[in-house]
């Protein structure tokens, strides 16, 4: 199993208030699956995504990733696992403004210490796949929303990660661009990628194989998608 959580809990504490964002969430995702997480604002889906993406750690419960219990890993170990195995796609693209398209996509390969020649070959290849190669020397501010998201997808997959996490990938896009991005994700899935997507949109959720529904930090149901 790629991902396995057991009673995963996350609490946020301020001076006066404690909020339970995740409340004993138990979930399993196999390799090669395309899973959506749906729920109203504040239900904890992004928090769950962050923990599963190893960019946050749980308060209680356990999380096994690729068979390893990573619940109490320090940031340094999580970082190592993250860069080799997980790709991220964000709602607001989160490209680095001072880097070109090429340089943004190259970043994960740089951090994974891939040699220069191999980096070039991989970046060129994925830019062509995303049909954004002609904009390689442009900066994010010079691209449309759809183009930026395609760059973000390219960055997420350039290292051929085991898991792609997408947090509202079409949230800042119009319908045409949003559909385009979803078709890309579907194609990636068909090529063997495991995808976990947070979305408000039932239409987007329909692209996935399974939908996990959340409310108030709990998983309240899971539906197999009819495709």
């Amino acid at each position: 199993m790629l991902i396995e959580t057991t009673e995963l809990t996350k609490r946020f504490r301020t001076e006066l208030i404690e909020t339970t964002a995740l409340d004993k969430v138990s979930l399993g995702i196999d390799e090669g699956q395309f899973v959506s997480i749906m729920g109203p604002s504040g239900c904890g889906k992004s928090t769950l995504l962050h923990i599963l993406g190893l960019i946050d750690s749980p308060s209680d419960g356990s999380y096994r990733f690729l068979g390893e219990d990573v619940s109490r890993y320090p940031e340094s170990k999580r970082s190592q696992l993250r860069k080799l195995n997980i790709g991220f796609i964000f709602q607001s693209f989160n490209l680095i403004d001072e880097l070109t398209v090429y340089e943004n996509v190259e970043l994960p390969l740089l951090y994974a210490r891939v040699p220069a020649g191999e980096r070039k070959q991989k970046v060129d290849s994925v830019l062509e796949r995303m049909d954004i190669g002609h904009r390689r020397d442009h900066f994010p501010s010079q691209l449309s929303g759809g183009q930026q998201q395609r760059v973000a997808v390219a960055r997420a997959v350039v290292n051929r990660p085991k898991l792609i996490l997408a947090d509202e990938p079409t949230g800042n896009l119009d319908s045409a661009n949003g559909s385009e991005v979803m078709r890309i994700l579907l194609r990636l899935h068909e090529e063997g990628a495991s995808i976990l997507m947070v979305t408000h949109s039932a239409e987007n959720a329909a692209f996935s194989q399974r939908t996990v529904r959340m409310l108030d930090g709990k998983v309240i149901g899971q539906d197999q998608t009819v495709q």
Binding site: H50, G53, I55, D56, E75, S79, Q80, R82, K83, L84, F88, N94, L95, I96, D97, E98, L99, L107, P108, Y111, A112, R155
Partner: protein
């Protein structure tokens, strides 16, 4: 690193205001550091151009007579010779004997129709070029000064008379008509040379021969006439000279001084330490180690303020970088790679600032009177001195690391999610840290401003202090040569008919310059003559009246009383206190009279007046009438006798009187160019170094404040931007623009006030230490600290207002729509 620099360059491009502020601040700091470094390098390496400087020592000595200890940089001219004969560890010696001690050491040198005065002319031994390093342009240093009528001259001297021609073999003449043959030309001595000269005359002249008889030589040891330098073996410890000095004194000088209750000792001053460490009378102008400390401190302050700026701006703008940091961390960047990236930015800023700083220094040195202010030429020769460019580069990069390290570590410390979701809005700890930095900047700036104001007050106090005489509109004219001096009574009688001239007298030297000091004799408490080492000077008739000095007892000199010439003495109140006299009038006195000594009595006591710099308290002084008997003066020395005519001129007539005098003296003495100076100008020159210091510190105080305000401008730009929505809400609720600006400024003003307290304390202690070098002090006025604080607060408020007034005055809807 190439990638980091590329990213840093792009960041700089995107955030131009922030980049401009940082580069301006760092560039100014680097420019100031370069200037200060050049100055300090010059001051700290005085005389080190001499290859043998570590082996060359000057003999300084001290005479203790009559309860006083007087230290001199000059010694007897036989001392070096006698020491070398007796002590084999002394390898060689060389003397520099001024043609006259004190202000009179100038020579008029003629060649055909040209005649110029040259200062600091010395007779020196013919081995001088073996011991002191000179860049020889023409001539043979081994033989140049062997011939008694030879002279070695500087390049400036040679050009003045001969242009680009080789002057070897050419003849110039002294004022006495003595011909001198130019035998060597040396390049002008470096600025940082303690003992500067343009002419060196041979010591082998007959009239300079030192006695060979032991008794006469020992007698000569009690006089001081020249500077004596010793060449010692490598690694010689000057402390070892103490034994030599003691043994020499016992054998040669004790028998002469002990019966008079006196003693003598000598010590060695290392050549390269003289400028900053020597403390003896009759020395050439020296530096002041405290000024070195002061400048170094100011330089460090400026660097600190600039670094604080960088740190403050970087950490304040951290939220802008948060997303980038968060994404990179999610993608797996290592922390130290992030640190390297941010350090790369800091290094890029520092590099650009270094270029800007160098350009600024070149502009300032070329187009402003900074060098005149400092009193030395500063040469930023990056091509001729390659290590200088490397040093500036290395220093700038180091500055970049120092300034950039904390922001780099801070910015790279966030957890990925924290950075991504924008929770990096300043933590309480970070806000406090930035406040501490702003507080530190203003503490430094206020202390420098307060120090400048206090120094200015002290200099004004000195200039306006009651000197005990009136220097205003007192014109001094140089009268050279016995022939002209003997005509002075007639000249004075003629000038007295001019109603614009309120009084005329004669003096031997310029007030404030070094007065002659000798052992005089005065009647002590028990009626016997006590020997006293003290200052003394002959004066002309009417001196007290012309100088507006006050007699507190007795009477002034009178030409009508023959006994007043050579037998009457007027002393000051300090002398009365020194001798412990209840009734000074009538006390016996042994004072110089012409070439000899005369026995006389005290006829008057004058109120203390400051005849030396106000750094020193008033010392005992004896005055007596000029004895104009020049019958014992050798023909060869007659032209070198010098006196000054002192005129009190009606204030509104100065220019006209000066023109009249210039014409009259051109007729009376066509062989000498007209020389004059105003006494108040001459006195002000005594404090030139303090004036320069004060101006420089003032400039640097301004730079400090400027850099601090640059940072404040950037910070307030950022703060205003962050609070745009809040500003909009407040305006909707009715706040005026002034209230908005005040709200934004009040935190900073509190920090300025807190900084003022600490800065004022620091300035107080620093200035108190500096004031300890003055016998007369203005004291520390607390109003100065209030003023410095007000200046800093006003500048800070204006900076913030300038930056935030646009937003404060804008349409609230724009502000509310901002997010």
């Amino acid at each position: 690193m190439g990638t980091y620099l590329k990213i840093a360059w792009r960041t700089l491009h995107r955030e131009k205001l922030y980049a401009a502020i940082n580069i301006a601040g760092l560039g100014l700091a680097i420019a100031c550091s370069i200037v200060l470094a050049l100055y300090l390098e010059s001051e700290l390496t005085y005389d080190q151009h001499n290859v043998l400087h570590e082996r060359i020592f000057r003999i300084d000595n001290e005479f203790s007579i009559g309860g006083g200890n007087d230290r001199f940089a000059v010694t007897s001219v036989v001392l070096g010779e006698m020491l070398k004969e007796s002590y084999p560890e002394i390898i060689d010696y060389v003397r520099f004997r001024p043609t006259a001690l004190g202000e009179g050491n100038t020579q008029l040198i003629r060649h055909e129709e040209q005649a110029y005065y040259w200062e600091d002319v010395y007779f020196t031994d013919d081995n001088v070029f073996e011991i002191f390093t000179h860049e020889i342009l023409y001539g043979d240093p081994a033989t140049a000064l062997v011939d008694p009528s030879s002279v070695a001259v500087s390049e400036t001297f040679a050009r003045r008379y001969f242009g680009d021609e080789n002057p070897i073999g050419k003849t110039v003449t002294t004022d006495a008509g003595r011909p001198l043959s130019i035998s060597l030309v040396f390049a002008d001595l470096p600025d940082n040379t303690h003992m500067k000269y343009d002419m060196l005359l041979s010591y082998n002249a007959d009239f300079l021969r030192t006695p060979q008889d032991t008794t006469q030589r020992r007698q000569a040891l009690t006089g001081v006439n020249g500077y004596t330098f010793l060449l010692m073996p490598e690694g010689y410890d000057p402390q070892d000279f103490t034994e030599i000095s003691a043994a020499f004194y016992d054998r040669n000088i004790r028998p002469l001084l002990e019966p008079a209750g006196g003693s003598w000792r000598a010590w060695l001053e290392p050549l390269s330490g003289i400028h900053l460490n020597a403390d003896a009378g009759y020395d050439r102008p020296t530096g002041n180690i405290y000024y070195i400390y002061g400048f170094a401190a100011v330089g460090i302050f400026i660097l600190l303020v600039a670094c604080i700026n960088y740190v403050n701006l970087s950490t304040a703008r951290a939220a802008r970088r948060a997303r980038s940091v968060g994404i990179r961390k999610i993608l797996g960047v290592g922390r130290w790679a992030l640190v390297a990236q941010f350090l790369g930015e800091a290094l890029l800023f520092a590099l650009i600032a270094a270029v800007a700083g160098v350009v600024l220094v070149e502009v300032v040195l070329s187009f402003t009177p900074l060098e005149a202010l400092i009193g030395k030429s500063l040469d930023l020769d990056l091509i001729g001195v390659p290590w200088l460019a490397l040093a500036i580069l290395g220093f700038s990069l180091l500055l970049g690391v120092v300034a950039g390290l904390y922001p780099a570590v801070y910015l790279s410390s966030w957890a990925p999610l924290t950075a991504l979701v924008g929770s990096t809005r300043a933590s309480r700890g970070n806000v406090l840290f930035r406040q501490v930095l702003v507080f530190a900047q203003f503490a430094i700036s206020i202390s420098v401003i307060a120090a400048t104001l206090l120094m200015s007050a002290q200099m004004r106090y000195i200039q306006n202090a009651s000197l005990g005489f009136s220097p205003e509109n007192r014109l001094m004219i140089s009268v050279r040569g016995v022939d002209l001096i003997e005509r002075l009574p007639a000249i004075i009688a003629d000038l007295e008919t001019d109603s614009r001239i309120l009084g005329i007298t004669t003096v031997p030297t310029i007030m404030g310059q070094t007065f002659p000091m000798n052992i005089l004799g005065f009647e002590g408490a028990n009626g016997a003559i006590d020997r006293v080492t003290m200052s003394h000077m002959p004066v002309g008739e009417g001196f007290l009246e012309v100088m507006n000095m006050q007699l507190v007892a007795g009477r002034d000199f009178s030409q009508r009383l023959l006994t007043d010439v050579g037998q009457s003495v007027i002393v000051n109140e300090a002398m009365v206190r020194r001798m412990g006299w209840d009734e000074p009038l009538g006390k016996q006195a042994l004072v110089p009279a012409g070439a000899g000594v005369s026995q006389g009595r005290v006829i008057g006591v004058v109120s203390d007046f400051n005849f030396q710099s106000l750094r020193s308290s008033v010392e005992p002084l004896a005055m007596y009438s000029f004895v104009d008997d020049f019958s014992n003066v050798d023909e060869i020395n007659r032209p070198f006798i010098r006196r000054f005519l002192m005129l009190n001129i009606a204030g509104e007539e100065v220019a006209g009187v000066l023109r009249m005098l210039e014409q009259k003296f051109a007729d009376l003495d066509p062989t000498h160019p007209f020389e004059y100076l105003f006494l108040d100008d001459a006195l002000n020159d005594l404090y030139a170094s303090e004036q320069n210091l004060m101006t420089l510190v003032g400039i640097f105080a301004g730079v400090c404040i400027l850099i601090a305000c640059l940072g404040l401008y950037g910070l307030s730009a950022f703060t205003t931007e962050q609070r745009t929505k809040e500003i909009g809400i407040r305006k909707v609720l009715g706040a005026s623009s002034l209230q908005i600006v005040t709200m934004l400024a009040q935190n900073v003003l509190l920090l300025v006030l807190a900084g003022a307290v600490v800065g004022s304390i620091g300035a107080y202690f620093a200035i108190d230490e500096w004031l300890a070098g003055f016998a007369y002090r203005a004291g520390v006025n607390p109003v100065v600290f209030v003023l410095a604080t007000c200046v800093a607060a006003a500048v800070a408020f204006a900076t913030i207002a300038l930056q935030s007034s646009g937003t404060a005055r804008s349409d609230p809807a724009n502000a509310l729509r901002y997010e």
